[in-house]
């Protein structure tokens, strides 16, 4: 990982300063002793006092898994849900089912104790007696995370039992909040209809807090250093830092920690942007194509990307080289998403394969106006019609591709697929055996 935007000091006797990295400060895993030296001990919280929730609300922390929901509101919902003492559950979501994202795995590999501190702090705050850390199938960090938990137990810090759940959750939807709850209840890792929300009835029908692992690491920092410290970097409307995964046509791909609001172009140039690039996929496979260089000044934050008609999502920035065809890339992702549906909701079960097939024609055939019109119509037909957001996300992706790559669309319609449609894929598509 490369980290030039924020620097990593050798030793931290005080809170990280304005130019310092916060979440991932070493290129090596930070063991417990180094972690405690660097960040200081976890502050003691009076259980049930709600002081951490107030501080997190002041900080303005939002979820880093993709939905950007207010972390304070989530904590408060679980803390105030009707349940007996201790009958609540905390679930750390490290499943990272977004194929182009690797920030959660890098965070868990380098700073596992920050995430584990966050689980412990949230459990103390909401009154939970069980914690789960969910990892995707074939997670490279399963072993090291289990070692980190054992390290805490040996040091007498293992107040909360934390179970690592890995290998059981497959596929793009497995990381969805209600899918994790279903998995932990012994069911399939597929989304459920809400209500009930996990914060009311989740694991074992107990109020359940599901937070992304980066969100939990941010909680561990806010608990130590406070809301004012958290807000001392980033933008007014998007305080703090976040992890992003830069991938595609850059010389130094990888995970970076950025102050929120940093312009897209700055992050891409620091990642070694290979000119000429034509577009960047922001957010992930539910995300939006942004044309380059037009989008260089877009601030990387939830409100900044929203104003540009895009989403921050899970912080993916996938750069499309000029030698690739954006329609072909989108068609492959649409095909992947269609293969990942839970097969539960009629509009998605019918609409997603149809959308993938239409995109396939558009990318690799010579689409007529009927096919293009049908693709556009399908994006409307599937939006908001499923129990989860998979069809909505696929619709957003396809709509942005038809807009941003409109010149390619006209060229394909006039003369068939461009030569670039056969170029090697930029966006990673998990092999079938890994889904």
């Amino acid at each position: 990982m490369t980290t030039e935007r924020l620097r990593a000091p050798d030793r931290m006797a005080r809170p990280p300063g304005a130019g310092d990295l916060r979440l991932i400060v070493r290129d090596q895993p930070m063991e417990l002793a180094a972690h405690r030296r660097y960040y200081g001990p976890v502050p003691h919280l009076d259980s049930g006092s709600g002081e951490l929730i107030t501080e997190i609300e002041r900080a303005g922390l939002t979820g880093r898994g993709g939905a950007a929901f207010s972390t304070g509101r989530k904590l408060r919902a679980v803390a105030t849900a009707n349940a007996g003492r201790g009958a609540r559950v905390v679930v750390a979501n490290g499943s990272e089912s977004e194929p182009a994202s690797s920030k959660d795995a890098v965070l868990l590999a380098r700073s596992p104790h920050l995430v584990l501190d966050g689980i412990q702090l949230c459990a103390d705050t909401v009154g939970a007696s069980r914690g789960y850390l969910c990892l995707g199938s074939r997670s490279p960090v399963a072993r090291s995370v289990r070692e980190a938990i054992a390290e805490r137990d040996r040091a007498g810090l293992g107040g909360l039992p934390i179970e690592v759940v890995d290998g059981a959750a497959h596929g793009y939807l497995a990381g969805q909040e209600t899918a994790l709850v279903s998995l932990l209840n012994g069911g399939r890792a597929v989304p459920a209809f809400v209500p009930p929300r996990p914060s009311d009835k989740g694991v074992r029908r107990q109020p359940t807090l599901v937070l992304n692992v980066e969100t939990l690491a941010q909680v561990a920092l806010i608990a130590r250093y406070g809301a004012a410290w958290f807000r001392s970097i980033g933008a007014d409307d998007a305080p703090g830092s976040a992890l992003v995964t830069v991938t595609g046509a850059v010389r130094r791909p990888g995970v970076r920690e950025i102050p929120l609001g940093t312009p897209l172009g700055e992050v891409l140039h620091r990642s070694g942007l290979d000119a000429p690039a034509q577009a960047v996929l922001a957010g992930g496979y539910f995300g939006t194509w942004l044309p380059l260089p037009d989008a260089f000044r877009v601030p990387l934050s939830v409100p900044g990307l929203r104003a540009a008609g895009a989403t921050f999502g899970a912080g993916v920035l996938a750069v499309l080289p000029a030698s690739s065809c954006g329609l072909a890339e989108t068609a492959r992702v649409a095909g992947y998403l269609a293969s990942q549906i839970a097969d539960q909701c009629g509009p998605c079960r019918n609409g997603m394969p149809a959308l993938a097939e239409a995109m396939n024609w558009i990318a690799f055939g010579q689409p007529d106006a009927d096919i293009i019109g049908w693709a556009r119509q399908l994006t409307g037909l599937i939006t908001g019609r499923g129990a989860c957001h998979l069809p909505d996300g696929a619709a957003v992706l396809v709509k942005s591709a038809l807009t941003v790559f409109s010149a390619d669309l006209r060229a394909h319609a006039a003369a068939g697929p461009c030569g670039r449609a056969q170029a090697a894929a930029t966006l990673p598509i998990p092999p079938r055996s890994h889904r």
């Binding site: 209809f193 539960q344 009629g346 037909l381 989860c388």
Partner: protein, 90 residues
């Protein structure tokens, strides 16, 4: 399923129709009963007109809810849009 409460003067409680898309099997009963608010998509699944159910259609809406063979149609108070459906990743 909460039932609409009697309205008190000055405060009209609004209700919205929602489909549980996992439970829905496209029987089409709701589409036949309440074409003013519910239409069929190309595969026969219901598309609900957004917004509150007009007062004059509330009785029909209740009947459509009661007659759905898979209990997939719901009459609810308006939800906050950001939490109304299952979301990806906390």
């Amino acid at each position: 399923m909460s039932q609409p409460a009697p309205q008190s003067a000055g405060s009209v409680r609004e209700f919205e129709l929602r489909v549980n898309p996992i439970a829905c099997d496209a029987h089409g009963v709701c589409i036949a009963l309440l074409p003013e608010l519910i239409t069929a998509d190309p595969w026969g699944y219901p598309v609900i007109r957004p917004g509150p159910v007009p007062l004059r259609l509330l009785a029909l809406a209740r009947r459509a809810v009661a007659d759905c063979p898979t209990l997939a149609l719901l009459l609810t108070e308006p939800q906050q849009p950001d939490r109304s459906r299952a979301r990806r990743q906390g």
